[in-house]
Amino acid sequence: MLAYIFRRLLYAIPILIGVNLFTFALFFVVNTPDDMARMQLGVKRVTPEAIQKWKAERGYDKPLIWNAAAGGSAALTDTIFFSKSVRMFAGDFGRADDGRNIAREIGDRMGPSLAIALPTFVLGLFVAISFALLLVFFRATTLDFAGVVLCVAMMSISGLFYIIGGQWLVSKVWHLVPISGYSGGLDAAKFLVLPVIIGVIGGIGSSARWYRTIFLEEIGRDYVRTARAKGLPERVVLFRHVLRNALIPILTGVVVVIPTLFMGSLLTESFFGVPGLGSYTIDAINAQDFAVVRSMVFIGSVLYILGLLLTDVSYTLADPRVRLQ
């Protein structure tokens, strides 16, 4: 198993190199640093000197890949590609446009992101699975049908509506919790309740429907018939047999997102004013801070690849028959 994990980590390297090359091409070849400078400075203030200054401040004034002027290994290292892209592997993301260190900023903002994303994830999973089991328990009845209709209707509502509607109803009409904001420590709870609940409600439609399909597929299997023939009550069949076996397909879809929880949710965080990575990304996008967006792309793919690895490992935990080799 360790050997397997090690090999998978090795596989991740070419993919990360690919991501790196891709972002490099996107940010520096499709648009030259001159283009970016011109756009950020605005039409009126563009002078060759201003562009040079802008590039020098950000370290974009080097050659792209090959520095012919420098000798020896500096020909490779004193370039934009090396200083901006290769250094990301070492966790060095450089500085944002406001001069702050991106790596430290990311470290600071992971906490608040996780404080919202983790409860939303756990609670959402629990609620959706319970709801799906309920529908399966009453399968082929009016209740089941109504539940599925509800799921489809909830899937069809924009996520923005849940957030705006929730904020309006709970914070503005009922005055239960503050509309937005964040604070550290236990105080955070009153800020977290609403985004977590809205996140759970917003996700319930599609996931509950999907789990229901998986459960229904399992329920047609032979071992379920055997369990019923033994005289087990339906409750035990569902919870002990069907739930455990259905865990494998559910895990495939779910485990992969666990590492990306660190990234936070773009929408929730910006609507609720949470200083997490999601709102950091949105602010960077709006300010057109290319360095931050590039770093987030890189971190996002690292976490995603980690998620794929976790998925494989979780199979062995959920199903002892699966052996990784």
Binding site: I15, L266, L267, V293
Partner: protein, 461 residues
């Protein structure tokens, strides 16, 4: 040179939309000759919910198509000079709704209101009052006591009109089908679910009747910040939603199908390369990839203002670029599915028989593999649609969506959101956008479910 009253304009997205329609028509003609596909579509056509959803979708598509016939109106001709055309690009829908489009107020007004939403200092008065709307309820004159009665009369007139049209329609269908009234409306009767379609058409016609009758004198959904009619904006937003939902898949499909089949059938280093390509792309979180690509596209567009002659063209280019970028993130899933299916098909007898007969690789892929993958293509086309429509709103909110001047559900929500803090709240343009979006996405979801059930060989068992 003769001067016409209008000069047709074909935007790139219009052209692609027409390509898309011709592709669908061609596919439909081709599917008619394929027994399996025809049987699957027949299953969809027998499904009452699916046909009701399809009816609603058809209405949206009709609005979107009308909005895709663009033209530039001719300016007042000066004698002796050649005809000149306006810079503004309008569509057939704009012409149809010109009343609604041109009767703009100065700022917010509530649905069916006769006065503006905010107090303003009036001339020859020291107090701040709600100014009278220029067009909303203008036919009432100074005497506003008849306001509610007028609305009630117009609503009932609209309902009656809708009902009459519907009854005429039912009579025509009855004549054609030879069924009596009850049998006709029984859902599921008569092969295709005619009853379901007719029952869906009824509320649509009633709503249409009310909208037309009220729209003659009021702003049915109120007006937005700059006084534009919200109903008009919602109708315009439909085209953007449809384009993003369909063009994205259209743009991505050729690449996804080609690469998926190649990876699955050829194998070896080709397979490795293609797998590497889609694993790399899909490992970047979607929103971030889109955000990064859209930012870069903005830089390109802003640095080349000379590429576009009208602002409509620039907005259109941004819309298309957004479709391309969304396609870049969504082809990976389809390609992976197709590769897996091709791997299975490759080992089947009919493919091996073709190989034994010495049929070439590409001929096998085209003649034997591709037709057997069509169900996956159709399913992914309809399943992706609703997700893309919803994604557009989110992306526009994040700031990486369509051009701010393009009317879309996302831009409507985004501008309306700013006004939520107002007291009392400006809720109508938000609710109109969410309402239209909900109807579109719900119909698409229901239709997609029926299509998947009919096409997926696993679920038909």
């Amino acid at each position: 040179m003769t001067a016409f009253a209008i000069q047709p304009v074909v935007l790139w997205s219009d052209a692609l939309l027409f390509v898309l329609i011709s592709v669908i028509v061609a596919l439909a003609l081709w599917a008619r000759r394929q027994d399996a596909l025809r049987a699957a579509w027949a299953r969809v056509a027998k499904n009452g919910v699916a046909m009701a959803a399809a009816t609603v979708l058809a209405v949206f598509v009709l609005v979107g198509l009308l909005d895709s016939l663009h033209y530039r109106g001719r300016l007042e001709a000066q004698p002796g000079s050649t005809a000149r055309y306006a810079v503004e690009v309008n569509s057939a829908l704009d012409a149809l709704l010109s009343d609604m489009r041109l009767r703009a107020e100065t700022t917010y007004s509530a649905p069916l209101a006769t006065h503006l939403f905010a107090r303003e200092a009036l001339e020859n008065s020291t107090q701040r009052e709600f100014p009278r709307l220029k067009y909303g309820g203008a036919h009432l004159g100074e005497n506003l006591s008849g306001h509610e009665l007028d609305i009630a009369v117009r609503v009932s007139r609209g309902l009656a009109g809708g009902l009459v049209v519907w009854l005429l329609l039912v009579a025509v269908v009855r004549r054609a089908n030879g069924l009596d009234f009850k049998a006709l409306l029984k859902v599921g009767a008569g092969g295709a679910a005619t009853g379901a379609i007719l029952l869906t058409v009824l509320p649509i016609l009633l709503l249409l009747g009310v909208a037309i009758s009220l729209g003659g004198g009021y702003h049915v959904f109120g007006t937005d910040k700059v006084g534009q009619d919200v109903l008009y904006l919602s109708l315009k937003a439909i085209r953007t939603g449809l384009l993003i939902g369909t063009l994205t898949t259209l743009v991505m499909l050729p690449a996804a199908v080609l690469l998926g089949i190649l990876a699955g059938y050829v194998g070896g280093w080709v397979d490795d390369l293609i797998q590497y390509l889609y694993t790399t792309l899909s490992s970047i979180p979607g929103v971030l990839l889109i955000a990064a690509a859209v930012l870069m596209m903005q830089v390109v567009i802003d640095n080349h203002p000379d590429w576009f002659t009208t602002s409509a063209e620039r907005a259109d280019a941004r819309l298309l670029a957004l479709c391309l970028i969304l396609a870049m993130t969504s082809w990976t899933g389809v390609a992976r599915l197709l590769r897996g299916e091709t791997l299975k098909l490759r080992e089947l007898e009919f493919v091996q028989a073709a190989q034994a007969f010495g049929v070439g690789r590409f001929a096998i892929m085209r003649r034997h593999i591709l037709p057997n993958l069509m169900h996956i293509v159709v399913i992914s086309l309809v399943m992706d649609f609703s997700g893309l429509v919803l994604a557009e709103a989110v992306l526009s909110y994040v700031g990486v969506g369509v051009d701010p001047t393009t009317i879309s559900f996302g831009t409507m929500i985004n501008t309306a959101r700013m006004e939520l803090a107002r007291e009392p709240m400006v809720w109508w343009s938000l609710m109109a956008a969410f309402g239209f979006m909900f109807a579109l996405v719900l119909a698409a979801n229901l239709f997609a479910d029926a299509v998947r059930d009919a096409f997926d060989p696993r679920s038909s068992a």
